[in-house]
């Protein structure tokens, strides 16, 4: 995915299992998680505020990535910069943006397929979306134009005026230039990610997990987008996105609810947990079941629960989630996962200092899914990963696995830990 593993612009940190574009942490996610986290934000804040938050979070998360791209390639002209930016966007599986008019006065951008709109159609079929779905693309466009025309960060607002998921023929975007730039969302640099990473931990069978992680990273680097700028692999649609985007969404939602509707805070935490659980189940399950995975491990996989757990850790590491590790496992009883840090807690540590609550929602929700994939999924019976199978195996299951984050860097602990108990 434009992600030649050893290229200068996109680099894997194999020690902490982070992936960087320029100086910014980025990660892979599938269309299930991407759309579900978007719907979670809308349910918490309402679609209008949700869309605005996505546009702003996206612009601020992508801006430093684009700055690194432009300076790395010594790009100067506005059109040249915009073209390079849109090429990068497509290479990360977000979709192909078409620059119909690159002038600041009459700027016009369209697309035939963007990741979020396509994800909507894949999950909801012909049912039309009630609101625009491509806030991430809108934010990206605004950052690209600000940098291309050397304008103040936060001075361009991009809105989506047509949306394929809502039934329009194409996605379309318009620019508005503001005299007064808005307040920006901070991001976190590689140096600060490393500074906020906790005590190193190893997994059971660390050598095996590391070896598979490297092989999978190599395969991820080879995946290329199709003509629409979308990446289909392992039975899922995949994107590469700055982690600051996801972190800003989660942090802002939780802070908004804490201030405005504290009684809803727990509900929203539960929904972010649910997004992680859904992501872990469908993404990890889809990857494990794919022929690509057979190619990586060099054989058909077994249904051994410990193998499943170790392999899911390797997937999480390859996606840039951090060094997820199986610390302890007792079948049908207890799973303890640890990581020096996830991509979630360094962000909160850096920007907010200590938190009263643990903040690794993805790690926690996915932790439950890992236990379920290991023990509840009947691998011999060709599991049909998707929402129906998820409902049947996880939501309506008689087996009561429950994950809790027991250590968190943001609370001052030495590492991140999730305990999954039955």
């Amino acid at each position: 995915m434009s992600g030649e593993a050893d290229q200068e612009f996109l680099q894997w940190d194999y020690e902490r299992n982070y992936l960087y574009a320029g100086d910014q942490p980025v990660c892979f996610h599938c269309h299930h998680y991407n759309l579900f986290i978007q719907e979670t934000i809308d349910e918490a804040l309402g679609a209008a505020i949700g869309d605005q938050l996505r546009r702003e979070a996206s612009a601020d998360a992508w801006r430093p990535v684009l700055e690194a791209l432009f300076s790395g390639q010594a790009l100067h002209g506005s059109y040249e910069k915009l073209s390079a930016a849109f090429e990068l966007f497509a290479s990360t599986g977000q979709g192909k943006l078409v620059l119909e008019d690159a002038s600041l006065q009459n700027a016009a951008i369209s697309s035939e397929a963007l990741h979020y709109g396509t994800a909507w159609r894949m999950i909801h079929g012909t049912q039309a979306a009630l609101h625009v779905t491509d806030g991430l693309a809108a934010g990206f466009i605004s950052a690209a134009f600000e940098l291309a025309y050397e304008l103040a960060p936060g001075s361009i607002e991009v809105t989506q005026t047509a949306c394929i998921a809502m039934g329009d023929a194409r996605d379309q975007f318009e620019l508005i230039q503001h005299e007064q730039p808005r307040e920006l969302n901070p991001t976190i640099s590689r140096a600060r990610m490393e500074a906020n990473t906790g005590q190193m931990v190893d997994s059971l069978e660390e050598e095996t997990v590391s070896e598979i992680t490297r092989a999978f990273c190599g395969m991820l680097a080879q995946i290329t987008p199709d003509d629409r700028g979308l990446v289909e692999g392992f039975g899922i649609l995949v994107t590469l996105t700055p982690t600051a985007y996801y972190n800003t969404l989660c942090l802002k939602v939780m802070e908004y609810l804490e201030a405005e509707h504290p009684t809803l805070l727990q509900v929203s935490e539960q929904m972010l947990y649910e997004a992680g659980r859904l992501c872990g189940f469908n993404t990890f399950g889809g990857v494990l079941k794919s022929p690509e995975w057979e190619a990586i491990i060099g054989r058909e996989r077994t249904a051994d629960p410990e193998e499943t757990l170790l392999h899911t850790c390797a997937i999480a590491r390859s996606f840039g989630f951090g060094k997820w590790s199986v610390h302890e496992y007792f079948d049908e009883d207890l799973l303890v996962l640890r990581a020096p840090a996830t991509y979630e807690d360094p962000f909160v540590c850096e920007l907010r200092g200590e938190s009263k609550r643990p903040v690794c929602y993805l790690f926690t929700g996915a932790g439950e899914s890992m236990a379920r994939l290991a023990e509840d999924v009947d691998w011999s019976n060709a599991p049909m990963f998707g929402l129906d199978y998820y409902d049947e195996t996880v939501k309506r299951s008689d087996t009561s696995w429950r994950a809790k984050q027991t250590q968190c860097r943001a609370r001052g602990d030495a590492f991140a830990e999730v305990t999954v108990e039955r």
Partner: protein
């Protein structure tokens, strides 16, 4: 014997397994596919072959070590057309296999 069977994945009826007859080498099957509208996009030294249909954007994944062959219908193929589309492609694979098998005898 029917060589194509549904291999449900994330999207209903987009993933299909094809049982390649044992006498046919994976490389020979890939070669035959490339002569029939499939573009070989495999990376050098990769542990699998990856092909894309030139007109319809379906994909084929062929794992070298396990000989697993998976057909992935293009994700925007209409749901109601997917089974027929897979069966049509499956029949074309069968024809290629018969051709390759007859060449061997």
């Amino acid at each position: 014997m029917k060589r194509l069977s549904a291999e449900p994945g994330c999207q209903n009826n987009t993933l299909w397994r094809y049982e390649l007859p044992a006498p046919i080498a994976l490389e020979a099957f890939v070669g035959a596919l490339t002569e029939h509208a499939w573009r070989d996009q495999s990376k050098p030294h990769a542990p699998l072959f990856m092909l894309t249909h030139e007109d319809e954007e379906h994909r084929m994944i062929l794992v070298k070590v396990t000989r697993r062959v998976q057909l992935r219908l293009f994700y925007l193929t209409q749901r109601e057309d997917r089974v027929a589309c897979a069966e049509r492609l499956g029949a074309s694979f069968d024809a290629l296999c018969e051709e390759l098998l007859s060449e061997q005898t």
